[in-house]
Each structure stands twice: as structure tokens, then as C-alpha cells.
Symmetry: C2
Subunit: 473 residues, 2 copies
């Protein structure tokens, strides 16, 4: 208990929500701004986002996507052109009404998302099939006036990428929609060590203005689902509203098919929650801001310091590594770096000097092993790979163990209380609304599998699809 | 004349301003948004900015700076804390007054610059000399409600980096201020092929809230100066206003010394103007979005296409290269890629097939030379290095040839009409204001050199410093 007090991190089991904000703040990922709902991304927090950017930019480049930047502000009129879209976003929009020492004749919207701006530009620049596909992406800030906010998960401002593409036909646009959601899944698996469930949203839950929305959902340790990224097939909804036409190979004039898709700093919230523990943050090695911390156990011993320095020199060009020679209590140091989630700790002690040996501590499972100094460079890559894999497997196991099937509504409610996802076959929106009202759970995705029951247990009508329900962030 | 009409680029000598917007738009660097003063950064335009980010991030990493992200919106009250600062920015600020379906109780400012936010955070987090220096930087958008706007040069929204640092004493902060301005100079020389004059701003021209402002200024072909980046020594102005104190090694409580510094997408305007010509854009090779275009002269000849493909395969992993096999008029292709400023054009013709020879055209000087295919990979690095150097030298020559010294006010006015910088020794702000009013020229920087005249030709008072004047963007 004393250790907990020193770090002042609330226990996860005692209060998961408090634990989460504790590790975000004490782990120095974020700080609060004085304006409610806005956060400061501190160096470690922003570094995580930069790693996501690097990973995803590389994938975008391979698939011929291009980065662009569109304006922050646009007119309300433009926003009104696609009706479902504006209905979905209106309550959350923020407006500039006064600028340059006077009231604006038309108030301007701070982008909550940029479909309308890209559509307006596409209308002006696409004329022929030769102009297609357009595969644009931008990294930017967006503003959504959310009522209740939490670091990374929901904020009045957040950072994201938004892709906006235009295609000559529906097949191409659908294939883009799906290949992007798979890229998001890849990012989760290879960089964040987070498994996602992946699928189509129901009519009720899909994006305002989309024909189909595909989503990646991750399961948090409190049993709630976190929507972690979405990819929308927009069909011709925006091209018809914005009159984006082109002359096709067959000389006919047609509307383009569009997609849009995004992941945001919300992923950092998933990263913190999925892997963290009562000691604090736990980062998978490839994304960790600091990958290795070297701690001399006898910081006053010149030989130990010399040996520590040698190890630092060996590692510094390959890894994000720090050597802490401060003359502070070793236990306190351990505790601090454990809280910060650094994947590897190398302990250098005088007992290992003759044998050229050091102790390597892995944060995620608290295990120690002895390494020869000369083996470090060959062993660390395998160690990192293994840590990453084990962290992913652990999260996958948790995800798999928290997926249930309900044959009736009673069973559904009981299973829901266990936390996690419950599959149930339902008749449609009415059933969904009733479940939401009575249990607080929402349909996260539609499962592509056989129906569990022929009839919907909620409405007694014929079941149409099986959806995965859970409470959600 | 016909060629000009085809491309519809205005001649530089005929109308430099029109030429500039022509190449920005027809060269597909930007497109206009429907809201006046806002631009869209198209793939090539945004790519240039990403190259600047990569170059500068690498330098920042070497010097232990850290990237962060602070909120877009903050309260007017916070902005009011440093009086000179708010006076400087107030006329250009934009406000959010309505959000989430209601009027805000306190209107929020869209950041025109973020000194106040970083200062507020530093006040909360700096307590000891151990917390210093803080070396934070962020890449973001800023909003300044400018009345007259031009692509890249002046917009209601622009992209930039803003560094904000805090130090234990004045020397360290001053050394940071100067080392950053030298980094900007390095970026100009090594990436943009642009030489800067570099120096301190006068009292009249310095940043609102700074003790000293250092500036890099580049000279445009129309004889006007473009302020291309600034680095401010803030002293304790903000730390006193925001109460940012720390306990120093000597146990005394002291105010921190701060700096701030920034470069923006304005640099892209300099890049376009300094190197462009009547055929369009001209990019130095290291920053060019596309570095090499391969054009088969007989696109219907299978052997020519085969040879072109072989060359493409040789180059594609080393350079940003494209092969254009479209069956279009070769002259039209040449003209298009010249307009886009691509540094190298490789012409593949059937006459070169037996000898394995191709023609390499360098955009900046319109020269052609014959290369053997096998020599390409060894010769291109030298060619790029040479092109970059020559483009830099050309700009430097122009800069040097347009710097004058004035011994009296008449001479000053005559020299000013030639375009470029005129040095004059003056008594201070009164002289500066008179020059500005009567000639439109402003003091760009203070020269660290002996006075030209003992007395100020404007006021007849004793001259205090020599300043470089010019008309400016």
C-alpha cells in the first residue's frame, strides 16, 4: 500500500477511471489546459502519436495515397449540403463569429471532420476518369464540442488523420474502404500490440452521411468497447450533394464514389488502458518513447558507472535508451521507470562486473534474466519481438475470453454484466434501441456469421443479423 | 508568346505578383478555399512542408528539443497577461463565441502564437533548476486575421513550428535564441538553396513581447525582403507576467529566461519566388516532390519503352522518379514538367539505344548532357549536389549584388528604387518611422558593423546603429 501512495496511482481494480487519468497525468503523457476539455500532449504522449504517424504514412505511401492540408475553417452553408451529415455533427460544432476586430458576416465552422471541404475541392478538380482515383489524406486537429471529456478518449480538440478518396465506381471505393480498415488492424497488431474486432456498423451506429461504416473496436479491461477507427463507404451521397461528376471511359457522365476514414489520438487511450497495470504504464517496445533504461545499482562505484557507460554506448545508436546515473534511491528509480512503462530495464551491479553480466528486467511480466554484455545487441531484437508478441497475445486472450453468445434476452443481460461483447441475433433498429435504452449497451459491429436464433429475442420478429453488443466509451 | 498562352503563366517581368500566384496554382502546389484567405495545400505543396519538417525535426532531435502539442483554443484572459504581446496580436485574433449549441460564457481565442499557453504550463511544472532547460517545440496551424492575403506568404491560417524554451539564466537563453536562428540559416542553405541575411530586429520591428528578435530575411526577385523566420529572446518578460520561478543551484528563487522561435509555410513562398522562372517552378533537388521525370521520346516504340523501364527500375529505390509513357505530344510533356519544376528530365530516344545512352536535361539552367545508363547511379548524386550548389550560388549572387550603402537620405532613396537592401546609419525609432512613412521601406535587421556616417541623415542626430532597409512582404 505504501508504494501506491508514493506514486499516487489509484489501483485499477479499485477505480479504473481514476487509474486511467492518474497514469496519463503522472506518467507525463498529458497535462490539462485551463480550458475544460482541452489537453496538452507532453513529449512522451506526442511521441506516441508521431510513431503512429510514421507507421501509417509508410503504409499510405505504399498504396499511393498523398498527404495534403485543407483549411480549419469553412462556412456553415457548405456544411449544410449533405443533410444527414450536418444533422450528425451540428450539436458538437464550434463557430468563429468575431475576427480581425469585427463580427463576421457569415459565421465559420471549426472542422469537426472535412468531408464537405474535400468534396467541394473534388467537384472543382475532377472531370475525367483520368483524374481518378483521388487518394488524399491529412493529419490535423479537429474540434467537437463534447460535453464530458477524458484524456485521449474524448476531447473538445483531438488530433487525427482523415482520408478522403474519390473513385470511378462502387467496387473500387468499397475495396478502398475495406483495405483501409485492414491497415488499421495491421497498425494495431504490429505497432500497438492491440487486437481489434472488425466489422460493419449497424444503420443506427454508422457515420452521418455514410452508406456503410466499418469499425475497429478494442476491448478495454473494464469490459467496455472503444471504437478505435472507422472507414466509411460514402457511395454517391456526397458526390450527388456536391455534384462531383466525371466523364468515364465509356464517355458517360457519372458521379464519383467516395470513402473517408480516420484514426485519432484516441488510440493512445487504448494503448494506455489495454497494457497498463497497477504500477502504471506498460508500453510495447516498438512504440515506447524510451525503450531501455540503464540503472547502475551502485551509482557511486566508478567501475559500475564505467560499465554502465559502455553498455549505453553499445545501445545508443540502435535504441531509444537512457542511462540514469543520479545518486537516488534505487527502489525509487525502479518504481518511477516502471510507472513510465519502459519495456526494458538494465541493472548494472558490481557483482556482474567480472563476468561482464547484467540483469535485464522486462516490464510487462516483471521477469529478470542475466545477459552477457556482448550478447545484448543480438538478444534485444528477439526480446523486443517476444515482448510485443506476448503483450498482443495477452490482449487477444482477454478479448477472446470476453465474447459471448446470447440465445435470449435474459441471457444477454446476464452475459453483458460480465463485461465484454455479447452476440445476439436481432430484427433491426427497434431491437437495438430497446437494448440500448434498457441495458446501456450499443451494437458495436455486425458479425458475418450464421444467426444464433431465427427470431429476434427482443421483438420476436424474424432476426436479420447478429450484432456484437457492449457498453462503450 | 504562344507557349506562354498554353501554360497561361504570366511572365515574371510583366507582372511578378501575377506570375507568383500563377505558378502556385498551375504548378498545383495550392488551391483556393471558398473562404477568402484560406488555402488548400495540395500533395506537392504539402510535400515541401513535410521535407522541411523532416529536416528540422532531425536537427531538433540532435539538440534535445522535444515535440509537444498544445491546444488550439485559450481564454482571452490568459492572452492579456503580457501587455505588449496582446497589443501586437489583438487586431488579428479570431474568437470562438458559440459552441455545442450555446454561447460560451468566455469567448476563446484561436492561437495566433502560443507563448501564453507554454508560459502557463511552465509556471505549473518548473520548480527547480533540475527542471531546466525546457526545450519544447510544436508543429501546428495558427490563425491570424490578415486583411490582404497571398498563398504561403500571408494567410488567415498557416502552418508553422513554434519553439518555446525556458532556461536558468540569460546567457543560456540567448545562446538558444542564436543557435536556432543559425539552424534556420542551415535549413535555407542545405535544403532550400536560399541564402538569408541574418540579424537583430530594431525596437520598432521586434516581436510583441520580446527583448530581442533575430530574423532571417530572404531577398525576392522583385527586390522586396521576405521575413522568413524569427527567434526571440524573451528575457523574463513572460516569466514575470506568468510568475514562472524556480529554485536555482544557489537556493535562490529566480525567474526563468525564455525564448520562442518559428518558421512557417511562408518558406514555401520564398522557395517558389527565389528559384522560379518564366517557364514555372524550379525546385532544388533535395526538396523537390518529384526529382526525376523519364520521358520516352518515341512512346510507341517498344524498345524505347523497354529501355525507359530499365532506367526507371535503376532509379526508383533511390529517387522520387516517375516514368511518363503517355502517348502525348513530347513538347507539351516537356513544358508541363518544366512548369512543375522537376530538377532532372531523362529523355530516352531510339538513337541512344545501341550506345545505352540517354539525354539528361537540368531544369534550372536548361542544359542537356549525354549519360550512359550505367553511369546514372554514380553521376546523379554529383549532379544533384552541383545543381543545389549552383542554385544557391545564383541566389547568393543576386543577394550580394542588391546590397547597398547610403551616405545620405537622397542616395538612400535612389538606391532603394533599385530593389534590394540599403544600409543606412540612423539615430533610432524616429528616423525609422520617417523612412517608413516617406519611402515605404522598413528596417529588416541591424547590421553588426561600423557606422557609415557619424550622424543620422534623417534626423541629423548622432547615429546609433546601421540598419538594412528594404520594402518587404
Amino acid at each position: 500500500m505504501k508504494k501506491k501512495l508514493v506514486k499516487s496511482i489509484t489501483s485499477r481494480t479499485f477505480d479504473f477511471g481514476k487509474w486511467y487519468t492518474d497514469v496519463c497525468v503522472k506518467g507525463e503523457l498529458i497535462a490539462y489546459s485551463d480550458v475544460k476539455g482541452f489537453i496538452i500532449y507532453l513529449p512522451d504522449g506526442y511521441f506516441l502519436w508521431e510513431q503512429i504517424q510514421k507507421f501509417f504514412n509508410k503504409e499510405l505511401q505504399k498504396t499511393n495515397h498523398q498527404n495534403v492540408y485543407f483549411p480549419l475553417l469553412f462556412t456553415e452553408n457548405l456544411f449544410k449540403k449533405e443533410k444527414k451529415h450536418i444533422q450528425g455533427f451540428q450539436p458538437e460544432t464550434a463557430f468563429v463569429t468575431f475576427a480581425g476586430d469585427k463580427n463576421l458576416s457569415e459565421k465559420l465552422i471549426l472542422r469537426p471532420t472535412s468531408e464537405v471541404l474535400f468534396s467541394q475541392h473534388y467537384e472543382k478538380t475532377i472531370t475525367s476518369y483520368r483524374d481518378l482515383p483521388k487518394l488524399y489524406n491529412q493529419w490535423c486537429n479537429v474540434i467537437r464540442w463534447e460535453k464530458s471529456t477524458r484524456p485521449f478518449l474524448r476531447g473538445k480538440e483531438f488530433l487525427w488523420q482523415e482520408g478522403h478518396t474519390a473513385h470511378a465506381n462502387a467496387q473500387e471505393a468499397m475495396s478502398e474502404t475495406l483495405s483501409i480498415i485492414k491497415l488499421y488492424q495491421k497498425l494495431g497488431k504490429e505497432l500497438l500490440a492491440i487486437p481489434f474486432v472488425i466489422g460493419k456498423k449497424t444503420e443506427l451506429e454508422k457515420f452521418a452521411g455514410a452508406i456503410e461504416t466499418y469499425s475497429i473496436e478494442s476491448l478495454m479491461p473494464d469490459g467496455q468497447s472503444l471504437q478505435s477507427g472507422t472507414s466509411h463507404f460514402l457511395g454517391t451521397k456526397f458526390s450527388e450533394a456536391f455534384n462531383i461528376k466525371f466523364q468515364d471511359l465509356d464517355n458517360k457522365i457519372k458521379f464519383v464514389y467516395q470513402t473517408s476514414w480516420g484514426i485519432s489520438t484516441r488510440l493512445l487511450g487504448a494503448l494506455v488502458m489495454v497494457h497498463g497495470d497497477d504500477e502504471g504504464l506498460v508500453f510495447p517496445p516498438y512504440i515506447a518513447p524510451l525503450q531501455i533504461i540503464i540503472i547502475p545499482l551502485q551509482p557511486k562505484d566508478a567501475n559500475v558507472i564505467k560499465f554502465s557507460n559502455e553498455i549505453f554506448e553499445v545501445l545508443k545508436n540502435k535504441y531509444r535508451v537512457k542511462l540514469d546515473v543520479q545518486n537516488k534511491n534505487t527502489g525509487w528509480k525502479f518504481s518511477q521507470y516502471e510507472m513510465k512503462g519502459i519495456p526494458l530495464r538494465i541493472e548494472v551491479g558490481k557483482h556482474g562486473l567480472e563476468k561482464d553480466e547484467i540483469t535485464v528486467f522486462t516490464r510487462y511480466n516483471f521477469l529478470k534474466q542475466q545477459f552477457k554484455k556482448d550478447d545484448l545487441l543480438t538478444k534485444i531484437p528477439f526480446l523486443f519481438k517476444n515482448i510485443h508478441l506476448m503483450m498482443y497475445q495477452k490482449a487477444l486472450k482477454y478479448l477472446n475470453e470476453h465474447q459471448y453468445k446470447a440465445n435470449n434476452y435474459e441471457e444477454f443481460k446476464i452475459l453483458l454484466k460480465k463485461g465484454g461483447y455479447v452476440a445476439i441475433s436481432i430484427s433491426g433498429t427497434n431491437a437495438e434501441l430497446k437494448i440500448k435504452k434498457e441495458t446501456g449497451a450499443t451494437a458495436r459491429i455486425i458479425l458475418e456469421q450464421e444467426l444464433i436464433t431465427d427470431n429476434c429475442p427482443i421483438t420476436n420478429e424474424k432476426a436479420i443479423y447478429t450484432a456484437l453488443f457492449s457498453r462503450a466509451y
